[in-house]
């Protein structure tokens, strides 16, 4: 099946042949194989893994949705970075910063907390995808 990833910066992945896509669904990881039924699913923050004939590719994805229709998978995401585009040191620094800031946030729910928690999750995903555990 064919995969497209569109972001506000333009097409990130265009018409790439894939055997399987793993996506960060809202309720957890979600795999899409050829022959999937027509579906629209919201996506959270997490890694996207493509199994292409040439091998495996990993991306850090944040907020969006996926539409599966026939043998075409279209992903729309606010951000999408390929593993080799990620600056690991910066992502790690961001994780540390967010963790520090999270400690100072009271109450432990509410918008400020959620925003920060999302930011942390994004940074963690980037570190993980870049392979710099």
């Amino acid at each position: 099946m064919k995969l497209d990833v569109v972001t506000p910066q333009g097409a990130k992945v265009k018409d790439v042949e894939v055997r399987e896509v793993t996506l960060p669904g809202l309720l957890g990881e979600m795999g899409v194989l050829p022959g999937h039924e027509a579906m629209i699913a919201a996506l959270g923050i997490g890694p996207m893994v493509l199994e292409t004939p040439a091998g495996r590719e990993t991306f850090a994805l944040a907020s969006g949705f996926v539409e599966v229709l026939g043998d075409r998978v279209s992903v729309l995401a606010e951000t999408c970075e390929r593993s080799d585009e990620i600056d690991v040191t910066r992502a790690k620094a961001k994780v540390d910063e967010d963790v520090r800031r999270l400690h100072d946030v009271h109450p432990v729910e509410g918008e400020a907390y959620n925003v920060l928690a999302a930011s942390l999750k994004k940074a963690e995903t980037r570190v993980r995808v870049a392979g710099g555990k």
Partner: protein, 299 residues
């Protein structure tokens, strides 16, 4: 009558000004092209999100989603996008005056209107008018217009809207119509209401898609998909407004610099004429003096 030297100095100064305006025009043209490319890249994403929201929203209870709720608009926020730099004609003053008119005229019938400013020119304008409340300033967005920065603004206003701290959010910015025309628009960002039906091409695309009549499965469910999508829609609208405003700014600067270059050109030819006349007059005068001197000697 100006002396030769004065005219020459004036001429040199106008010429160097013209060099600058011409260079600025070229720079603006190059930047305009880049800004337009950015817009073009963001467009498919924005459209797709809007289409899906439209599809999904049709089948859910609108009241269930806080971002769709229309309340009496008591507390409103005006997000005003200007530019960081001047020399772009009436670009900034059009926006600032429009925003001020909105505030002064009580246009939306709000009890309380705050301002969120993007761009230094807007900030400077409203600093001189302390009678209006500036709630937020986002000065870093225009110099580095990433979708992340725009999304951060979107998240902030959405959070405040859901909290009930705001009942409505409006965008005031220069819409990019074409390279020679910009239009100041006031657009509602929140709550999300079914927007102006019939803006041409997209509706045709919608119709084509709807005709397929495919039943999608929604994961985790229609409601959640909509809930996840609405903030993204707000974010991309902010981002797109920033991109449009940047393109419009470059277009306005290009036009302004074009006419400045033309005016400088006219001034140069007028001054050159004046200079030549003055020079000729001096020569004639000197010749006369020589001739009369020679005549006198002869006598």
């Amino acid at each position: 009558m100006a002396t030769l030297k004065q005219i020459r100095r004036r001429l040199a100064s106008v010429k160097s000004t013209q060099k600058i305006t011409r260079a600025m025009k070229l720079v603006a043209a190059a930047k305009l092209r880049r800004a337009q490319e950015n817009m073009m890249r963001a467009r498919p994403y924005a459209r797709r999100i809007r289409d899906v929201i439209r599809d999904v929203a049709e089948h859910v209870d609108r009241e269930a989603h806080p971002m769709l709720q229309v309340r009496p608009e008591k507390k409103a926020l005006l997000v005003v996008i200007t530019s960081d730099r001047g020399l772009c004609g009436a670009f900034n003053s059009n926006i600032n005056r429009r925003a001020e008119r909105y505030l002064k005229g009580g246009e939306g019938g709000h009890e309380e209107v705050g301002l969120a400013l993007l761009g230094r020119k807007g900030r400077d304008y409203f600093r001189r008018r302390p009678q209006y409340t500036v709630r937020k300033e986002y000065m870093e967005v225009l110099s580095d217009p990433t979708s992340e920065r725009a999304a951060a603004i979107g998240r902030e206003v959405v959070a405040e809207f859901i909290d009930g701290g705001l009942d409505a959010v409006y965008l005031v910015y220069n819409e990019f119509k074409s390279a020679i025309s910009q239009r100041v628009t006031v657009e509602r960002l929140l709550p999300i209401v079914r927007d102006r039906d019939g803006d041409g091409d997209t509706d045709a695309a919608d119709a084509a898609q709807a005709a397929d009549g495919i039943e999608f499965a929604y994961e985790p469910g229609r409601g959640q998909v909509l809930e996840a999508m609405l903030p993204l829609y707000v974010n991309v609208r902010v981002y797109f407004a920033v991109l449009e405003s940047l393109a419009a700014e470059m277009a306005a600067r290009m036009t302004a610099m074009e006419s400045a270059t033309k005016n400088a050109g006219e001034m140069i030819s007028r001054l050159t004429l004046q200079y030549n006349k003055a020079r000729q007059a001096t020569i004639t005068k000197e010749m006369l003096e020589i001739v009369t001197g020679a005549e006198a000697l002869k006598g």
